[in-house]
Each structure stands twice: as C-alpha cells, then as structure tokens.
Symmetry: C2
Subunit: 521 residues, 2 copies
C-alpha cells in the first residue's frame, strides 16, 4: 500500500521507481545501451522415474493439479492469452486457488481481458496480490485507481520472454489452456472446438516454470501433432468441458474499417511503402488486426499485384487478409505470433507455409537477434504520439491504463516503423507535446501517418529522400499537430496525476522506461 | 595418461572409476534410484544489440567463425552425426581448430564414424585431448588401446541430452552441419543436396552451447522453413561447398537381411508381438535400421494387414519400411529420431505425419517423462547378452570398443524390450555368462530372440503367460546358450583386459554403469 517509493530519472527524462514489488530496478539508459550479464534461468532437473511410464499425466481437476504442484501463498502463477476475451481457464485457475485458500499470489498472464474482471474480487479478497502483465480495460482501470496492492508491470511480448528467461520473473506454476492436448501434455492450439492458432505466448511458461499444468477440452491419443507445447515440460493434464468461448476466441468478424478518414490513413500507409521503395520483391511487413491495419493490407495487396511484387514473409497477428496474400502467392510465408480469425486458424492448422512463432523467435531482445529487426516495415497504432515521435500505447491522455503493450515495443526494431493513427479521437488530439506514458522512444518511430498528412522523423533522412517527389502529403509533425489543435479547440487536457506510481512500463531489455501514476476515479 | 584411478564397485557389481576426466562421478545405484537435484544449465544471456539488425550472421569461413567465438585451448567443441559416415563438417571444424593452433580440445560429437579417423592424427598432435561420444570403428579401437589422453565417455542419445542439460558437459562451441539454413541461422535437415532428415541430435547443442555456428551448403533466404534449429540460438553462419557426401549420408541401399537365420529371427519377433497380444489397434513400436529390424517390420506389416491392426505411432530411425506403413495407413505417425534412407528423407520433408523428434522428447531421462516408456515394444540388437539378460552394445567379446550406444539404453524403457540377435557371430556365441561391458541392466530386457528360440526374462511372468500355447519356440536362455556353445565349441575366449580404464559407459541418469578397459592391440 502507500509505502514510500524511491524515484529516479531515467535516460528518457522520466521519473521511475527504483524498486518494484520488492525487486530493485534498472532505469532505462537508452536504446541498445543495457548490457545483460550472466546466464539464463532454467527449471529444476526432473526424473522420468517420478512420472508415469504410460505417459498419462491426467489428474481429475485443476484444484488437484494445483495442490499436486504445491501451490502456496505468494506463488507466481501464469496463463497465456491466446483465447483472448473468450478464455475460461485463467479464472478457473484463480478460483481453484481461492478454494484452496492461498493468498497473495502474483498473477502473471501474458495479457488479461475484460471478461476476467472478476479477478478484481480476488484481489479484494487477498487471493491475488497483484498482476504483472497487460491489463486491458477494467483491470487496468482498477490498477490506475491505485487499488492493487502491488505495482503493475507492463511488458511487451518479447519483454515477457526476456523477464522470464533472465530470471526477473520466476513462474512457480504455469497453467496452459490447450485447444488440443494428449495425456502426456503435448499441446496444440490450431485444432479442436476452441482452436486459437498459435500457442507461442505459453512457450516460455512451459519451458521455464517449475510446474506446468495443461488444461484441455479436446484430449487426443498420444501423440498430439503438432506439439507447440512439449509434454516433456508438463507435470499434469486436466480435462475440462470447455476452455473458452469460441465466439470470443476468434471473432470471425474482424472487419476492415469503413471510416473514410481511416481508409485514407490505410491508403497513405500502403502508398508510402510503395513510393519509398520498401514494397519490392522479397520484402516483408507486419500489421496488426485493427481496422486500419486490415485496410492497409488490402490496399497493399492491390498495389503488390499491380506492380508484380511478392513478399518473402509477412508477420501476423494473422487474419483473413494475410491468408489471402499467402493463398494468392503474394507472400512465401506467414510468420504468425497470434491468430485472430477463423480463416487464419484454418490456415495455420493446414498450411505449412503459415508458421507459428513465439516471442523467443520473434521478439526476445536478449537472444542472438530476433525476427523483429528483420521486418522491412511495421504498421502500428498508438493512443498518443508526441512531437519527438515518442509513442504511447498503454494509457489514454486522461492517464488511465487501459491497454497492454503487446508486441508493439518489439516491432519498433523494424526497418521502417509506421504509426498509423487518426489525428484525433473523440475530439482529443492524438499528436501531443509529450506522451502521457512513454512506451516507445521516438528515435525508433520513423513515420506517423494520419488522415491529414504523413510526418517523417527527421532522423530518417533516407526516408525523406526516398519519397521526395511523391504525391503523398508529407508534412512536419508540428504542422499536423497545430491543425488538429485548431479543429479540437486546443491541446488535450492534462490529467490530474497523483504522485504514486501504480505501474511501470518496461523497455525490451528489462529496464524501466516509464511510470503509470495513480489517477483518482 | 597412466594416472592412478580410484575405482568403486557399483550396484551392478561393476568396477568403475570415481573420477573421469577430472570430474567426480556417481557409480550406478540401480534403475530409477538416482535422484537428481538442482536446476538445469543455461547459456549466457545475449543481446540483440550485439547481432546484426539484418539478421545476416554470415562469416567468410569456419576458421573466422571459431576465432570470433573465442576458441581457445581446452574448450569443448561439438557436432551432430546426422550426416553419419558422409559428414565433412566435423573434420572441417577440427582442422580449422588445428590451423588456429589450439590444443587439448574435448571433442563432443553425438557420434563419430570411420570416415573421421583422421581425428586420431589430431589427438596425436595434441589438438584433441579426448573424445566424449560414440566412437564407431577406428576411433573406438584407438581408445581401447589406451592411446587417448582422456577417458572416453559413452552416453546414450538421451544421456547426452541429460549430461548437457544437467551441466555435466558444458559445450563452449557447437558447430552444426545444416543441409539447409538461412543467414540468421535457422536450419533444417530435410531439404537440400545433403538432406539427412531430422536434426534432433544437434538441438541440445544449439540450446545449451555458449556459441553456436551453423555450416551449410544450401543457403536460402530467411526464413528457412521448417526451422529444426532456431537462428535465435545461433552466432554465426558459414557457407561451404559441401557439408557431406550424400551417398554416405543416406545409403539408399538399406536392405532387408537375406540370411535365412536372420529372417527367422525377424519372423519370430513379429510373431511374438502378435501372439503376446502387443500387436493390437493403437499400439506402438520402435525398430532400428539393421537387416533384422527391417525384415521384422516387413513381417509385422503383413501380420498387421492380415489382422486389420493399425499402430498409433512407430518410432524411427526411419527407413522405407516405416514410410510404407505410414503410406499404407498402418500407422498414424512416424516419430523420427534419425532418418536413414532417401525414402525416409523424402517423407519427413513432405508428410506432416512424419514428425522429427529430439533426444529431449524421446529419451531424456531427466525430464518430465519421455516418449521411450510410452512405446509398447522395441526391437534392438546387441553384441552380447548374458544369462541374466544384461546386454552389451559397445564392445565385442574381445573387449574392443567398436560401437556407440545410440538410443539403445533409452529404448529399454519400452513396455516390451526385445533383443533380436543371432545366437552366434563368426562362431562366437552371443549369449554369454556375463557381458563384457554392461550397457543395459537385465531387469529392463524382456525377451531375447535368436534363430534357435526365444528366451523370456523370468521377471516378465505376464509375457510368459501371454505366449503360453503359442507355437513359438520359447526356451530358457540357459538352454539356448548351451546349444550354441556345443555348436561353437565352447564359450567365447575371455579377452585379456588391462587394469586401466579407457572409457566409461554412463547410465541414462548420468551415473557410471561400467568401464571399458584397455586392450593391447
């Protein structure tokens, strides 16, 4: 609760706590500056003698599995979020823990969702001490109000892998929702009634946790093929009626935006890639699943066809629109981190060119390179971007924490990072003097595309040169900002932030990039 | 060299050194008795900042790569043996090390082969101090003659993973021959002119070594799909003209035995599986690539068809004969540890039901179970088996070390372990009073099948009962032995063993099962 927290100013000029949840922190020292030392973490050595020869690790229910794994007060328990807002397993786990009677757990999901807001009651009852992981919606709001006992720690997908691998977070028990699994614990996300595609977010948990429990609603005879999670890392398998609500796991309704402004943004982005010479044979790009991103992919697809250009690979979050590219021969591969709609799930289940990836291969900054920096262009969103091209994706301008980082920070390593954002939302400008919460340093953000024009980071002279002579509305970011402020009647109102940190934003190397401050409800 | 070595008697009554290559050893204490403690090993934490953003890790040659990885005296350097007797990369690596001028390396291949016998010259010159790993043929012979400076350490495939994982062997630099790779280091064994199928033996090296170098003769643009080896673990990529001799990588001529005696053995084994009720819907088996094993698969295939029986999975070493089962719908899956012929390479490259495995999934005894114990029946060879069903696969009755263990020890965990052996070879009986070198404890060996009859381990009353009334020639092992000794004119001559240990045989849990003693040439 209101303990005194020492603060330090980091290299981005942000004031950050030097201690978070009892652990000393390193303030951010700049992009590519922090030098990690030592060896990766590793789980305990086990012996086959303590596991059934038959390979059958089933136990009757999750409560039994948690007891067998020695669940006790203060442990760290984790889940993945591939089932998104349809997930039932995380709450099943937390409620089983509550029945067992343990207290002060640290819940470590790869992300939490509005459907899991009953976790708030478990925090009030003392079962959960705090959450480290993305908090989308109500849980983020609860945290911003200063009601959580510990501090929230926001990490990117790659940062979560880095934190586990480097030993910053030690998972005692991982509970993995599996759309298909065998009794040995081999698990696959791309088949079964609750199919969600890739299970990459659970991979670190399966490899590093002391104990691993697989929960499935589609048990198949050994071997479960493909095995995205290896049973050799799994202690127990629990069969349940349902791991999630398929309608919310994949929406099936991921739609291209119909807003003329947003379509304009999407078209600008596609044209920018073409006119800057990035769209060429063998290139690669990544775009998410928002309405603008989908529209962008559709525009780009048409331009690629017109110009006879083929990508070597595209990165998901995958949707129907990426699958179309694959099937039309416009890309050799989809390298997929998460699978968003039914077309994408079907594709990853059956097409060997649609390849599941993990935060290790894609994003882990503390590896021997990662895919992120090999992507030619990435198209991202943001809640705010400032005149120095710094980006915010976690808080709104009112200071409320409502979103996770996802792979956003990791993607900034791409050859050309584009923020595709409307210039204002609900009459609040998106381009600001200084972002409320720094999530990505401006030196890594190359282009801001709005419906009113395209701003190129002055650091990227090469890009400014590349589009010289193009018909695109290239403008200084200050110009766009001024125009938007005229329309909206001024800058956004600054939030009344308290002086109590309620969460921190980690950078991809584990250092502390910024602080989320308490906001009174 | 002739240092004094302390010996201890282990639980199998074998005299074993308590110190091997400067490291204290635990004598074998029985099957399923040793309790490992502590955590697994892990490689150093790296940072993307120290690797090229483009992902291109190519260096001009292997010598440069080894220098960049800081190769120096006394290091441990490793290779895999999926290219078998056709491999060119291991010698390329050792010769590059010799040119650099380092001394006293420990060479840690997953197995060494006759074509690598020039490693003997490198031992004589002091470049290699000793070899830990299977030594097939001349290198084993060299070791047995006491000429190697350090002791040989023989481990099973699973035992090699266990030793790396548990920190008994720390690999400084792994050099991985890759039939296909991209510039980032992602590597695949199933495509390219030097295709060898699975790369599972190199997986531990790629995950645990401090430095990893991929050597390929088929560089493809990123991403190399599938990636059996992940570039995120790789430091450098070297392109060479040829990683091996395709004719010796896969023989293309793996043939069923034509010997009437051996065909008889193969048929007995198949009939045994049928009559004992092991061959039933959903069952599983593993057989290697020897002439008897191949003939066995062919007999079994016919019986399966006759009886309308389908296996759930079969385990390779894969060959045409297993691929036939898959293609005829007689098994759902091949779980493949190594790929022996061209038909199998083609199958694993294109059929998602033909799945590459690793020693981690298949064999590692210090995991949360492994596939080995889930296999219903395994058919193995042996150089000797004794009246207590103990098996030997590494030495001949003359005491010479000529073979590695392969997955043999690990396979003993199967539901029914069958040694299919001729009762004598070159007029030397195979069934003996006591095996020269204990490689597998008799309590794990269930059935010995020879052309003169089938001996069932008295511990397996269930199997004795199961085949009661069958027409199979079930006989006590002593009876078969006595008959063979009459034919061969007595027991094998006991070798004149020295009192100097030249190698040890590890058990699957890392304890020392037996010793190989110096034999004068």
């Amino acid at each position: 609760m209101p303990e005194r927290v020492e603060l330090a100013q980091n290299a981005a000029g942000r004031s950050v706590p030097t201690m978070v949840n009892g652990k000393p922190q390193i303030p951010y020292i700049g992009v590519g500056k922090y030098q990690p030392r030592g060896r990766k973490q590793a789980p305990p050595i086990r012996s086959n003698k303590d596991y059934p020869d038959s390979g059958d690790k089933r136990v009757p229910d999750l409560e039994t599995a948690l007891r067998n794994c020695g669940l006790h007060d203060g442990m760290v328990i984790s889940n993945h979020h591939h089932l998104r807002d349809g997930d039932r397993v995380a709450l099943m786990m937390l409620e089983a823990a509550a029945r067992i009677g343990v207290k002060d757990l640290m819940w470590f999901p790869s992300a939490s969702f509005p459907s899991q807001q009953s976790a708030i009651a478990l925090m009030e009852r003392g079962v959960i001490h705090h959450i480290e992981g993305s908090m989308n919606g109500p849980l983020g709001d609860y945290c911003t109000q200063g009601k959580m006992r510990g501090m929230g720690v926001l990490r990117s997908h790659g940062g979560r892998w880095q934190a586990i691998q480097d030993g910053e977070v030690h998972i005692d028990i991982a509970v993995i929702a599996a759309p298909t699994a065998d009794t040995f614990g081999d698990a696959d996300g791309s088949h079964g009634k609750s199919a969600c595609g890739s299970l990459g977010f659970a991979l670190a948990d399966s490899m590093y946790a002391d104990h691993v429990i697989v929960v499935t609603d589609n048990l198949v005879p050994f071997p479960c093929i493909p095995w995205q999670i290896q049973g050799n890392n799994v202690d127990a398998v629990v069969e349940v009626e349902s791991i999630g609500d398929p309608a919310k796991i994949v929406s099936g309704t991921t739609q291209i935006t119909r807003s003329p402004d947003r379509l304009r943004i999407a078209e600008f982005v596609a044209r920018f890639l073409r006119d800057a010479g990035i769209m060429k044979n063998g290139f690669s790009f990544q775009a998410g699943a928002g309405g603008i991103a989908l529209a962008f992919v559709d525009y780009l697809r048409r331009m690629m066809k017109e110009d006879g250009v083929k990508a070597r690979f595209v990165r998901g979050g995958s949707t129907k629109y990426l699958v179309d590219l694959l099937q039309e021969g416009l890309t050799d591969y989809i390298l997929d981190g998460q699978t968003f709609d039914l077309d994408a799930v079907k594709s990853i289940a059956g097409d060997p060119r649609h390849v599941p990836t993990s935060p290790f291969t894609s994003y882990n900054y503390h590896g021997k390179g990662s895919f992120a920096s090999m992507v030619d262009a990435v198209v991202l969103g943001a809640t705010e971007v400032d005149v120095n091209f710094n980006g915010n994706v976690v808080t709104h301008s009112d200071g409320r924490l409502l979103h996770g980082i996802g792979g956003w920070q990791n993607c900034l390593a791409a050859g050309c990072t584009i923020l595709a954002v409307p210039s204002f939302r609900d009459r609040i400008p998106v381009i600001v003097d200084e972002v409320t919460t720094l999530t990505g340093p401006g030196e890594l953000i190359d282009v801001v595309v709005t419906e009113r024009g395209i701003a190129i980071n002055p650091l990227r002279k090469d890009l400014l040169d590349a589009v010289k002579g193009s018909k695109l509305p290239i403008r200084p970011i200050q110009d766009i900002k001024a125009e938007v402020e005229r329309i909206c009647g001024g800058k956004p109102t600054r939030p009344k932030l308290g002086d109590r940190p309620v969460a921190v934003v980690k950078w991809v190397d584990g250092t502390v990039l910024d602080t989320v401050w308490q906001v009174s409800a």
